[in-house]
Amino acid sequence: MSADEPLLEVRDLKTQFFTAEGTVRAVDGVSFTVEEGEIVGIVGESGAGKSVAASSILRLVEDPGEIVGGEVRFKGETLVGFEEGPDGELRERDEMLSNGEMRGRIRGREIAIIFQDPMESLNPVFTVGGQLQEFIEINRDLGGEEAEQEAIDMLREVGIPEPEARYDDYPHQFSGGMRQRVLIAMALACEPSLIIADEPTTALDVTVEGQILDLVEDLQAKYETSFIWVTHDMGVVAEICDRVNVMYLGEVIEQAEVKDLFYDTKHPYTGALLDSIPRPDETVEELNPIEGVMPEAINPPSGCRFHPRCPHAREVCIEVHPENRVVDGDGTPHRGACLRHEETFMAGYWGSDPLGNETQGETDPELTTDGGGSDE
């Protein structure tokens, strides 16, 4: 691994599900990087492909899903890598790790994962301590007693009171928040370089969520582990992430540092997501849910996939498909996939006729007038 290579590099990753209704392009050409010690967010509505992207990194996509293209490099190893064969077909490259190597060298040991539902992620018929100990034994080559000690220490570290006494308790004797702490302990105890957290606080109530986020921030600072944080909640992104990827229908449509994303939003979808965050100064009735439902990834809309819901959509958005590009090069590059950035995409957005989506629902009037020409 060369010095300037990021810890994890995902390039043009494609994962598809082959169903009876058709091919679902769940992840459709996603690229992003994770640097050492960084928390990178993947945010989007459910169905945007963010969890599939996360599980693709560990090659844990389940049937009928399959990684069909792209590259995932981690610490100089090729977790996913395709090349064009002599007959033009994509095939796996030789240096791509075998399944056995993924299991023995990567999963748990180098990249650990925390799942969404703490109630379902622990096996109900084994003790919490036993499960933790098993993963430590496998991934750190420790003997039973050392692993047990390690497990107890880690339970204490994540704030489980009296870990020695709770060691032999079963999962159902823990609350949801405590179980999520156990799962965090599992991930950290394996001493991985990267932890993928797949909506780990979604199933928890707000107070507990806050505690868990604080805990992760503290532990992240202490262990300097990198994180990929998958969530649909911009509030969580704001609290915990350094950089963010916004996903819509299998694509990353905006990529930026958190503060840039929040204060210099480049994509209307991100804007809509930000509008849907509950704020203390708004009651629930005043929330701005995003208009419309996300279309199916089997038959994504033509052109810009967001155009059926986008308040700024114009004729050109139906025809031209914007890939995300650097739209603001100051500091860390800010990437966006919206034709309104005419200087980057040059598709003739401002000369195209509006589709009139804004009349379908109440959209933020400010944004609409803003889109009316000030950027030109």
Binding site: F115, E120, N123, I138, M186
Partner: protein, 330 residues
């Protein structure tokens, strides 16, 4: 766990009481007069009265019920009218035969069904899975007596390999077993006699357990905790053996428990097909002879077996799943 066990056993008492009561009332409602069966078609009035008095049949229903209940509680199930022996003695004579049959057919069923179900789930939708599913489907839809008859025709009449009737107890005295001089001979003979009845009775269980084992394993293999184990580098065989297997046995136990009680019915048929003198044939003979004490006794005994089966199911459940007994401890 101990307090749970005690509680489950105590809960069984009213159930048993109910079984005894219903059995008593139903038996009383059976048409036909046991006295006429004992004495032939036209007994003299005095003879009939004497018999009625001897067996307490001249007393009103509730008195007979209370007396019977008192006897049952003391372990006395009355006397068989036909055999003239105590019902309990008759049961104890026949019980080992039926137990041997049940144990052997369940061992056969579980020993084949569990691996078959697990392999089927592991190789889902592959040839192994298809074959095992077809076999299981045939197994659950074929009547056991028919399997028994086919086996007899093939292996006894045509091939002359296996005996078609009777069971030999493996612990029988060599002297009492035809053609046997050593313990080993007895064991071999007992085994030969046991093979066909075991398959006859066990096929249904095997098929039912295979199906539930497969579907339970498939379900558990989809659980988040299995995915988590996979994500932490646990190998597939460990996942099957450890992470998935134990959980998957919960529905299997329920089915095995149900099968156990169904197998009592199956034993009646199997014993009839193979002329085995077990509990099944005893109960049929009792019914044919209107031997009402024996009918009641065997029915109550079957009821008891059923209740024990349910308790064992619950206890195994509690043993496997810690959530079941949770809340018991202070």
């Amino acid at each position: 766990m101990l307090s749970y066990t005690v509680r489950r056993v105590l809960q069984a008492i009213p159930v048993m009481l109910g079984i005894v009561t219903i059995t008593f009332l139903l038996t009383d409602a059976i048409p036909g007069d046991p006295v006429s069966i004992m004495l032939g078609p036209s007994p003299s009035a005095e003879q009939a009265a004497a018999i009625r008095a001897k067996y307490g049949l001249d007393q009103p229903l509730y008195v007979r019920y209370v007396n019977y209940l008192a006897d049952v509680v003391q372990g006395d199930l009355g006397r068989s009218l036909y055999f003239g022996e105590p019902v309990t003695q008759k049961i104890m004579e026949r019980l080992p035969v039926t137990l041997l049959l049940l144990v052997s057919s369940f061992t056969f069923a579980l020993a084949t069904a569990i691996p078959l179900g697990v392999i089927s789930a592991k190789r889902r939708n592959q040839p192994t899975d298809h074959v095992s599913r077809v076999v299981a489907l045939m197994g659950v839809s074929t009547p056991s007596f028919w399997i028994g008859l086919l086996l007899i025709i093939a292996f006894s009449f045509h091939l002359n390999l296996l005996p078609a009737t009777d069971l030999i107890m493996p612990w029988a005295d060599p002297a009492s077993v035809e053609g046997a001089s050593t313990r080993w001979d007895v064991l071999v003979t007992a085994g030969e006699h046991l093979i066909m009845p075991t398959i006859t009775l066990g096929t249904l269980q095997m098929a039912a357990v295979t199906r539930i084992e497969r579907s339970a394993m498939l379900e558990v293999l989809n659980e988040e905790y299995v995915k988590l184990a996979r994500a932490y580098g646990v190998g597939e065989s460990t996942i099957l053996r450890k992470h998935a297997f134990r959980n998957a046995q919960l529905p299997v136990i329920t089915v095995v428990g149900l099968q156990l009680t169904q197998a009592l019915g199956g034993a009646v048929l199997t014993e009839t097909v193979f002329s085995i003198n077990g509990m099944g044939r005893l109960i049929i003979r009792a019914i044919n002879n209107q031997d009402y004490e024996l009918v009641m006794g065997t029915t109550i005994f079957f009821g008891l077996t059923f209740v024990i089966g349910v308790i064992l199911t619950d206890l195994s459940y509690a043993y496997i799943d810690p959530r079941v007994t949770y809340g018991e401890r202070e």
